[in-house]
Amino acid sequence: MCTWIVEHTTVSGSAKGPAGWFHLNQANVYFDHPYHAPLDHALIIDFVETPDEVGNRVAVELTEESARRLVDSILAALESGEAGHPVRLEVPAAIA
């Protein structure tokens, strides 16, 4: 594929990278040749705090099938979590 088209989405929370935990601001999502996984194409997600900072990210390269399973799992977990925790807590400003 080799496209420069990347989906950017803002995210809030934390991730743990090589240098420890960091605050998350953005996820970059694309479907293209992976760097490491032995696949022709992969669904790639880079979780970052600062988009133009090199080296501080959490990266995943997933097969298309596993990426879709992950989406389903995230939605299922959110649904059961909402059912089990019906009262929404206010999100602290520090990670909002």
């Binding site: 594929m1 080799c2 760097y35 022709d40 970052v48 900072e53 090199v54 080296g55 990210r57």
Partner: protein
């Protein structure tokens, strides 16, 4: 019998607007004179695969340089740099063309150069090879390996990539070899045909080789899409092309 030897190392050279560009140079030892090839990486960046290809071409008797097109985003781990570069939309076409012009100068100044310089690129690098051969008038041969977005819609163009190489066909200034898998979706066989028709109409020197049973990136030995028979045959064609146009 010739003693077979090469040197491969990281260097910096002057690229677009005089910027220092990181690059991997692999070249045969010996007096030459040798033809030269610029090796352009794919979107995931300046990885081990592109360096292997540079050494493969050097082993056949060519001076090679593989510029890190993401140099301006950093010179650390290539995968980390590529992640930032991709998020930023990749390298602007104008920067790439300037970096390629610098690479041509670098190679021509090497004491064992015969003065002839070609280019090869893979995936997005295939598009880059066509772009360079259509923007610069001092390349002697180009090889496009399944370049995606050589033909692009308005929606696929942006500030960094304002013109599709296909729309520059009239300016193509070097012989072009195309290597394509018939199962590829980018470019599709229909796009390859469309590109070929334009090359014919403009009277350009070209050869398009299409391979059945192969898709995108079928030279990549570390991916499921590798096709040994097709890749082996196609590499022979690549070296025939360079032997024809880059020999002294």
């Amino acid at each position: 019998m010739t003693y077979r030897s090469m040197i491969a190392e990281e260097i910096f050279y002057r690229g677009h607007e005089g910027d220092q560009v990181q690059a991997y140079v692999a070249r045969p030892l010996g007096d030459g004179p040798f033809g030269s090839v610029i090796v352009i990486h794919h979107m995931p960046g300046w990885d081990a695969g592109i360096m292997e290809i540079a050494r493969k071409i050097a082993d056949q008797g060519y001076l090679t340089i593989a510029p890190n097109l993401y140099t301006r985003f950093g010179t650390g781990d290539p995968d980390e740099v590529a992640a930032v570069a991709r998020a930023a939309g990749g390298t602007p076409d104008a920067t790439f063309v300037g970096d390629t012009a610098g690479a041509i100068d670098y190679l021509r100044l090497m004491p064992t150069s015969n003065g002839k310089v070609g280019i090869i690129g893979f995936c997005s690098g295939g598009r880059h090879a066509v772009l360079a051969a259509s923007s610069l008038d001092n390349l002697d041969a180009a090889v496009d390996c399944w370049g995606g977005l050589v033909i692009a819609s308005e929606e696929q163009l942006d500030e960094n990539h304002p013109v599709a190489p296909f729309d520059m066909t009239a300016n193509l200034a070097s012989p072009l070899l195309g290597i394509f898998g018939n199962d590829d979706a980018s470019p599709t066989p229909e796009q390859v045909n469309q590109h070929e028709e334009a090359l014919k109409q403009h009277g350009k020197t070209y050869k398009f080789n299409r391979y059945d049973g192969a898709g995108h990136g079928f030279f990549s030995v570390n991916r499921p899409g590798y096709r040994a028979a097709q890749a082996t045959t196609a590499w022979v064609e690549v070296f025939k092309w360079y032997d024809r146009y880059l020999s002294a």
